[in-house]
Structure formats: C-alpha cells, structure tokens
Symmetry: C2
Subunit: 658 residues, 2 copies
C-alpha cells in the first residue's frame, strides 16, 4: 500500500480555475438547421442578404392608388377612382394603376406599378365599378417600402448572440435555415471502478456492485452547461485498459472527465496514464472536497479528474468545470445559478482550506404572529393562494440556508442539498443570520415549498405526492422532533409515544396499526412479542429514531413488567432486536427475502407485501408545524392536504384519522 499517491501539496483553488482555463475546450463551429438553433450561440455575424420586405408592400387592406389622385378628398367631397383590378398577398400584380385608377389590395400584397399609397378599406366604398375614396393619402401611406424592415447588407445579428425565439424570428425573415453556431464541447466521461454497474443492468450486491452515479450525474451537468456528454465503458484499475479508454476518449472529445471511483488504486492508474500520455497540470486542490481533483491533458484533449463521491463530484464539476464548458460553448453564466440567503443556524468551520459546503434552502414564508395555536381552518383561509401553487415574492419571505452533511458518500445528499456555499479558509464560523451566496446545483433548482422531517410513513408519502415540490427527510420521529426544535424545518411528523413536548402547532394526524410482520400464513405461529424472546426466531427491528421502535420499546417494557424482568433482559433474548433498519418496509422486506422470521412493521406493509401480520397496537402519527412558519403557503397546503386525506387513510390497512 506504500505505492498509493498522497497529494500533500494542494493547489489553491484559483490555480485550479487557471489551469482549467488554460486548456482549450473550444470545439469548431458548426452549422445547424434553424429548427435546432434555439439555445445555441451564433459563431459569426449575420448580415442581411436580402431586403425585408423584398418589395413595396401594402400594410393595410384597401385600395392601391396614386396618392396625388386623392389630394383634397374627404367625407364631404370624396374622389371617385376607376377600379382596374385586384392584388392579393402572394401574387404578382397583373394590373397597373394609372391616373384616376385604383386596385383592390390585401395586406401584404405587392404594390402594383403606378400606385404609391394605400387607402384603407374603411374610408372607401365600391359603387358601380368605381371606388369612392373619402380621405386623402400621401405617397407612402400604408405602404412598407422594400428593405424598410431590414435592408440587404445590414448587420442583423452579432457573433455570440444567444438564439432565442426572437432571433429565430429574424433569421426566418432573412430566409436563413442553416445557422452557423458555436460548437458544443464534447465531454467524454470515463468512470472508473470495477464495482460500477450501469442503471438498468443487474446488480450483484453480494459482489459489492453499485450503480454508477457519477457518470450519469456528470453527463447531465455537462449537457446543462451546454456540452455534449459521451459515456465511455467503465475502466477498472488495469493500466492498459485505462490507457486505451482515456486515449480513445481524448481523441474523440474536447474534454475528458474521469469520475466514479473512490478507489485509490484506480486514481493511481489514471495518474500514471496522464503523466505517460499527456501532462498533469495539478493534482489535488485545497478545497473540501477537492483533494483528489486532477487537471491536465491527455493527447490534445483537456482532462479533469473528479472526486469519487457523488456530491463531491457534482460540486467540483459545477465549481470548476461547468464555467469552462459554458465558456467553450459561448454561453453566459445562467442568471439563476446563485441565490442569496441567510444562515438558518450557526456553522463552525476553521479547517484552513476552502470548503464547498453543501446546503439546503428553506423559505421562511411571511412573518407570523407566533399565535402558537389557534384554529387551523381559520389559518388556512387567511392570506391568498397564488396561481399554480407558486408563492409570490413577498409570500416567500427570507431564504434560509442550512448545511447538509450526511457524509459525502451519501447519494441522498445530492437531493437533500440545493447547492453549495463557499466557506473561505480563514472562516471560523458562519453566524446564524449571516448572509451567504448559494451556488445552486442546477439553475433549475428551487427551494422546496415545504421542508418536512420525521417519521417514514406510507400515508404521509401519499399526502406528500399531492404537494408541489415538498422536501421530506425521513429521519425518524426522534430526529424529526429534534430538528424541528432546531428551527430549520417547516414541519415534523412524529409517530408513537412522545417523551418530550414540542413547541409547535399541530397540523393534523392519524393513527396506524403496528405489529409483527411474518411470512404468509404465519408459519411459526407467532402470537406476540413474548414469542420473539422465547422461540428461536430471527427478528428485524427498526432504528431507535423511528416512532414504531418507540412503540415497540414501550410494549417490550410492558411484557417485561408482566414477566417481572427488565426490558434489557427481554430484548437480549430477542435475536436481532438491536439491529435497527432505517425504512418502514425494511424489516418486512427481510421477511420476504427469507432473512427474518418476523419484523417490526405496519399492517399496511404486511398487506401490501402479502405477508402475515400479528397486531401489537395502534400508534398516533402527528404533524407539527414550526410555529414561525404557520403562515407559509407550503405549510398551509400541507395542513389542507392532511385534512383532505380521508381517501388515503381509507385506502390503507390499519389507518384511521386521529
């Protein structure tokens, strides 16, 4: 293991930016059909090659005349002109307008020879083959001269122009159907690690296989930044294979990214390939997380090695690589790339290196009187709901920012965080209320309308389905209560017996039947808790954060009291009692998989998985709102959704309105 590379001289982040900027990612310009030009960037100036309109054009329906023939005409004293024909849009005039003559003309039609003005139809009357004109017009009236809109030779659009629908309009007017645009840089993504499997393929967990997350996340981020992503086959940590794939990617792409593996030996191999077949400009950046970042060249292509953990990889990509991809594509920084917010909590730091801290966003909603209770229905009807569930700016209140740190290995951090705050190396802490800038993980990211935490529950899940853009972290009842006390989330969902009071406003609640989930038909004839201790049964429990577990612990205490023993003695006798699983279905799934004879769970879970069920009790699930957020639109909608969830409780086994 002594051969492992250690990057002790970390480059300052500015050097990483400069190193990447020094690489040439810019592809050749290309030509795309007009219908595919939207969002692209013009590679060159476009001058008009023709006049628009290409002819003197009637801009109203009426009669083409010689203006001087109408001089002096008015309502009282109209002039009469001979009608000599008609000109329609899209047709070549087959008539000439002479002195004292007029031709019917439609908007958009070519002015017939001789005519120099149009009298609008409303000021005329046709009578006996003659046109009665009740107004005077000057030459040029209601006529758009050839080239008046755009003249041939005029500058129409500059290089670097982003093509939006309006530019499409002007290009169409000029008859241009092939548009010269900046190329989209091709970005090859080489994921490394023998353990990676493509989504959709079969996963052998027992062999340590996992789905490849980084390749797909990075590919999506590349496309979002205006690049074209190309995925290469996974490379293991074999030198020849890695070299072959990296060199192939370098030949085909403007930039090659490697990503995916957290394996030090794979990184070693890449390192050697880059040194051998290209040039390494820097290895390791003084950024948390950026230590494993590499920047260099392979052949003629630029190369960046991203860290292995998903959040780290996306963070480093968005911070260092995406700006270079956009530059190469000629695209500006998206206007929605960052948002301002203030820290919802104090966060200590002091690590001496730049930290790209993943954070979540929550909106404070309108200020509340902290009524601390009151009639729910009254609160619901207060204020107004804006169209399509969007909250108006004054309704959204302040954007609060809180750190998300589940360990960088967690994929769920990806969706629990909205972006990243740069914390400078000399920062000791960020104070609560301190203003920060959040670089969003995507310009399309928006703060959730509701931020809930707490118990995992199938009824809740269905209720959340009815809300627009909620964020719910199933951290369990205990952590949910704790987090609500911390003041960051909007609401907490708490199940089971509660040992501590919460200063919060109840939004609603329900009950659910819980017990032991057993194989179909209950083959071991389990009748209750006592059997778990007395029989040779493998049990799967929930973790201690779960309300279900709290209910079970209470029930165990009762059985222990009946038996005149302690809970500890009883649970020591239950095989698997201490092994807590995280999700409400996990114990039942262990039963399905034959890895357990009984699991803690809900009647609903047992029924939905066609398993047997031994009821042990009914517990409440209560939804508590942060007292500062009761007026927030998302909280009011959550309350309404719980109120309207009768059909949800009816459809789930063992559920009832509280």
């Amino acid at each position: 293991m002594s051969s492992r590379k250690e990057f002790r001289d970390l480059a300052p982040p500015e050097e990483a930016h400069e190193a990447i900027a020094s690489l040439d990612l810019e592809p050749d310009p290309e030509t795309v059909p007009l219908s595919e030009a939207r969002g692209r960037v013009l590679a060159e100036r476009i001058d008009a090659e023709l006049d628009v309109p290409g002819f003197d054009r009637a801009s109203m329906d009426g009669y083409a005349v010689r203006g001087r023939d109408t001089f002096g005409a008015d309502e009282a004293d109209p002039v009469k002109l001979d009608l000599v024909g008609a000109v329609h849009a899209g047709a070549e005039p087959d008539v000439t307008v002479g002195e004292g003559e007029a031709a019917e003309i439609s908007t958009g039609a070519v002015m017939p020879p001789g005519a120099d003005a149009v009298v609008v139809v409303e000021r005329t009357e046709e009578r006996d083959g003659r046109v009665v004109v009740r107004t005077a017009v000057a030459p040029g009236d209601s006529v758009m001269l050839a080239g008046a809109d755009v003249a041939a030779g005029a500058r129409a659009l500059g290089p670097g122009t982003r093509v939006t629908p309006r530019e499409i309009g002007l290009l169409s007017a000029l008859g241009i159907n092939e548009v010269p645009v900046r190329g989209r840089p091709t970005v090859g993504i080489v994921s490394t690690g023998d353990e990676l499997v493509r989504p959709g393929e079969e996963l052998r967990s027992e062999a340590g296989q996992i789905y490849d997350v980084n390749s797909y996340t990075t590919a999506a981020a590349v496309e979002e930044a205006g690049g074209e992503a190309r995925l290469y086959p996974h490379a293991g940590d074999d030198y020849e294979e890695m070299e072959r794939i990296l060199v192939e990617a370098a030949e085909e792409c403007d930039l090659v990214l490697s990503s995916g593996s957290t394996s030090a030996s794979a990184v070693d191999v890449i390192y050697r390939v880059i040194e051998e077949r290209g040039e390494l400009l820097l290895h390791g950046v003084a950024v948390k997380p950026g230590k494993p970042m590499l920047v260099g060249r392979v052949g003629d292509s630029a190369y960046v090695g991203l860290p292995g953990y998903p959040v780290s990889a996306l963070t480093i990509f968005q911070t260092f690589v995406a700006p270079a991809v956009r530059r190469a594509a000629g695209l500006p920084e998206p206007r929605t790339a960052t948002v301002e917010g203030s820290m919802a909590v104090r966060e200590r730091y002091g690590e001496g290196r730049l930290r790209l801290m993943p954070v979540g966003l929550v909106e404070s909603g309108p200020a509340t009187a902290r009524s601390g209770g009151g009639d729910a229905a009254e609160r619901s009807s207060a204020g107004h709901q804006t169209k399509s569930g969007e909250t108006a700016d004054d309704e959204a209140g302040e954007t609060l920012v809180y750190p998300v740190d589940k360990g960088s290995g967690a994929t769920t951090s990806l969706v629990e965080a909205d972006g990243v705050v740069e914390v400078h190396p000399d920062t000791e802490y960020l104070a609560e209320g301190e203003s920060v800038e959040v670089r969003l993980f995507s310009p399309d990211v928006r703060p959730p309308t509701l931020f809930g935490v707490g118990e995992d529950d199938p009824a809740l899940s269905r209720i959340l389905d009815r809300l627009e853009r909620p964020r719910y972290l199933a951290v369990g009842s205990r952590d949910g209560r704790r987090r609500l006390r911390g003041g960051v989330p909007d609401a907490a969902v708490v199940a089971g017996p509660s040992d501590r009071e919460v200063e919060a406003v109840e939004l609603g609640g329900w009950t659910r039947e819980w017990g032991l989930v057993v194989p179909p038909g209950n083959p071991d004839g389990v009748t209750g808790l006592a059997d778990l201790a007395d029989e040779d049964l493998r049990f799967v429990n929930r973790d201690t954060n779960s309300g279900l577990r709290a209910s079970l612990d209470d029930a165990v205490a009762e059985v222990a009291a009946d038996r005149e023993t302690t809970s500890t003695e009883l649970t020591d006798a239950i095989d698997g009692y201490e092994l807590g699983t995280k999700a409400y279905e996990s114990p039942a799934r262990a039963v399905v998989d034959g890895n357990a004879d009984a699991g803690l769970g809900l009647r609903q879970t047992a029924e939905s998985l066609d398993l047997g069920f031994v009821p042990l009790g009914t517990e409440t699930v209560r939804v508590w709102a942060n007292p500062d957020r009761t007026e927030k639109a998302g909280v009011r909608e959550f309350e309404r959704a719980i109120d309207d969830a009768g059909d949800v409780f009816d459809s789930l086994a063992g559920y009832d309105r509280d």
Copy 2:
C-alpha cells in the same frame, strides 16, 4: 369585402386566460431513458426498490476487523491482528474475519463476514503478515450499512419533481434507467397565407412572397415552454385545404396554433373551420395586440389563433399560451421570466384596453460624476472588469425600460425589444422613472451590455463583433443624435457634417471615403456629381437620416453654388435623388442588380462588391457616449474596442483613424 368578420365584442384578457385554461392540453405520461430525463418532470412518485448501498460497505481504505478486537489499542499500545486476506471493491469477499484477524479492504468493498468495522490504513502498519492497529474502532466505524443511504421501500422522489443532474444521480443510484415523466404537449403550428415561403427555399419577391417568420418563432417558443412543436404545411385561404390541415393537426396534437397571416380572408376561413369542426370559445381579446386572437377547440384538440404580426404573435403566445403549455408539461414559470425596471422615458397611453407594450432594456451602469469629458484612457482603466465580461450586479446599475414601437409589422422589433410591459386600460401614462415589470420574450433574454444607435458603417459592424452582447440600431446619424439627446441609448455613432451640438463624451472616431458607386469599369464614365444631373443616369440615394446623405447634400450645395443655381434645382435634375434607401449597401446593390447607374456609397462597399468608385470626399464617423453612462462597463469596452480597431481600419478601403 362586406363578409369580413369584425370582432367588436372583445373579451377581457382574464377570460382569454380562463378559456385557454379550460382546454385540456395535457398529454399522457411517457417513459424516457435516464439519459434524456434531464429537464423533464416526474409523472409519479419513485420509491426505492433496493437498498443503497446494497451491502455493508467499507467507507475507507484500511482493514476490516472485529471492533472488539481493537478495544484499548492506541499509538503506545497497538494490537496485532493476523492478516487473512484482502477484499477489493467490486469483488465478493472470499475471506472471513475471525477473532484476532483482519482483512485488507478498499473503499467501497463488501465487508467480509465476521468483520464489523474498518481501521483506516493511516492508523495501521503491515509487519510480517500481521497488521499493527494503533487505534480502537467501534463496531460500525468506517462502514456504511446496507440501506443507510437509501432503504428499499423509502420514498425517493415525488411526482412533479423537475429532473436536474442531482435527481439523475439519485435515479442512477436506484438503478433506474427508464424514467416515468409527464408528456410534453404536442403543439401543431399551421401557418396561413399564400405568400409564405419556408426559410431556405427560393423567394419570389416580385410575387409578394415573404419568408414565414411566425411558424418558426412560435415553434421555438413552444419548445422553450416545454412543448413539442410540429409544423404543418402552409394553408392558403381555401376552406377545404384549411379544414383538412387543421383537422389533421388536431388529430395529432394536444394544441393547434394558427399563425402567420395578416390576411383577413384567411382569418375568416379559419373562423368558419373552427365553428364547423370544433367550438369557438372566444374571438378577439381586449388587448393590444390581441384583437385577432381566437380560442377554441378543433375536434379533441385545443386551438388558439395568434395574430399575424411577428411581435404580436410572440407577445400573445408568451402571455396567454406559454403558461398553459408549461402547466400541461408540469413545468413551473421560469424564474427569469420577468425583470423589474423603471421607465427611461414618459410614455402616454390612454387607449382603454390592456396594452402589451414591447420594450427594450438598457442598464444604467454605475452612477457617474458626469465628468463630461476627461481622459479616455484614464476612464478605461478605472474600475475593474469582471470575469468573462459579465458585469457584477452593483456594476449593472438600474434596469431602464423604453418602448419599442416600429409598427408591429416589423420583424426587427422582435430583436430590438426584450419583452413586454402590461399597461392597464385605465393608465393614462407611464411616468419617467416609474417602476414596471417586464415579461421577457424568453427567459434567456438579457439586457445588452451596450445600447448604441446611429450610422450604419462596416467598420463599426466589425467593432461591434468584438463586444459581448451589444445592441446597435442603425437608425442613421440624425436619429442617432436625436435619440442620444433623449437619454436612452448608451452611445450614438454619428457620421458626416454635424449641424447640431451633442452634449456627450467622445469615445473615438474614424474617417471614411465616400462617393459614387458605379458598375465595374465605370461604363458611363461618371466623373462626379454634376454628371448625375447632366447625364441620363439612374441614381440611388441614402435616406436623410444617414450621415452619408448629409455629406452628399453638402456636396450638392457646393456644386449648385459653383453653377449659381439652388440645390433643389440641381437635385430635381438627378433621377432618384429623393429616393432614400436605408442601409449603406443598398444603393450599391441596386447598381449590382442593374437597377441603377450610380449609387451613393463608400469606397469600401464598391471594392467589396467589385464595383467602380468615383470618390467625392472623406467624412468623419464619431462615437459619442451618453454622459450618464461613461462608467458603464459596456461603454468602456466599446471605447477600448474602438481604440484597438487599428486592424479594422487597415483592412477596409478608404478608412482611417480620425
């Protein structure tokens, strides 16, 4: 003509919104590959079908051990464990860790049976086949338990979630490669009018043909709103043809739009088809421009008829139709759909109907001391330039809003306007400085970095190419000077003799040689202005806004004085003198086309078109900055670009630095 429909009962705009909302545009959900899911919206909740990770996973490189074997170990008193094997990422462990044993393990590898913790490599040493462990670890240390990231059965993503790279990451982790998403509404676009030709096809201007602008603009706007645009063949105003196309489009699409024609008879025909084959919900909306708008149904499809003028069509689409398309696609309003600004000028209204007023945006830049002059180089070096030419927020200053009204028929209004301000019917005027909300023509639209007006000039065009996102309106020197005095543009480019003083700061200037552009070899032997009056020559002039024309007028006055006659008498003798064309190349192009024997123009134009040239003089072109904007980044860059344009002047015939 009496059969033409007149829509006198215009519906209020809210009714138009409601009518469109009442139509069902929502397509069926569909399934897309993961690689195409970005930007789409989940059609249903996604629950985890598997644990992530699927196994107990080492989260560090080191040794897999039984935690209890390390209890008490520290630097001073390490424990020694027997090394029994190694487990690598992506491989099934072939070793069991017993009491007193350890197995080498890589990050990401499966924990071997028996082991419950990992000692990180840094706290160990391998010696004689044994592992020296210098720290105590508890069971679970540096291990991520199966399902700790995501547990099978847990709610992963809710319906309605917009898929960004981070959601792609979570979906990959769950092994999902087929994603259920909301459908994109299919929008059929039927353009009407016999005169329309598709870009790229040949145009017969003499027959009144013009390129189809609205179909392509609308298609791009549909795609931008999240729909899928489908273009149908142009329909003329024949009833059977229109019916056939509209019915076919209705069968294939969720929404049908008709657009393109300003012809009243085509609108009549559509009206009849809708009444016959569907239902007309409203015709005409009390919006300027919205009078010709139709809302209804054809067969099972929704139908909206857009106005015929390009700016009107895009305005009505973005105001009434785009929100419905986004709703049907499940997409939120883009965050950048609107910007706040303040009126740069007073604008009178008072028409009694809602006006969707096209406006342009210009940023005021940082406040300036109105130095009114000073050293240009000094000003250039003041302040800092931000990365990639983007101005920072505090640099951009205020967003100023000015009306753009060239008549709605002009295509160029499309690119001269950035969006639309809703002016309510009872508004009499918008005051200068009044705050307004601008709905951008596209979320990608940004205010120009520089807003210039004035003379049309090939050197200027090349200089503008070097700026990022400038807007330049070639309105001519006279109008340019007038507009600069109005205070809206950042700069004006003025050529030729100047009759009025401008209160402005000069940014730079150059000279250009002008004269008469004649056919190659000067077949008529034109020697000067006098020949135009004396010989039978067809002449093409520039319009009176042009600086070139002002120079010509002065030269004419001189010749007239020499001849002891008046300018008017002289110009009356020149065939075509009063016929002013708009662009600097237009007279020369008339010569190329054989429609003129001589044209007013530049030596540069003559040489670039391989024409003959009779020099008449040299005129100055000066660039003036708005004195309030001299500190604006775009103005400073313009000044720098003029300063650096030596190569441009060198490359153009008859050009020189002033």
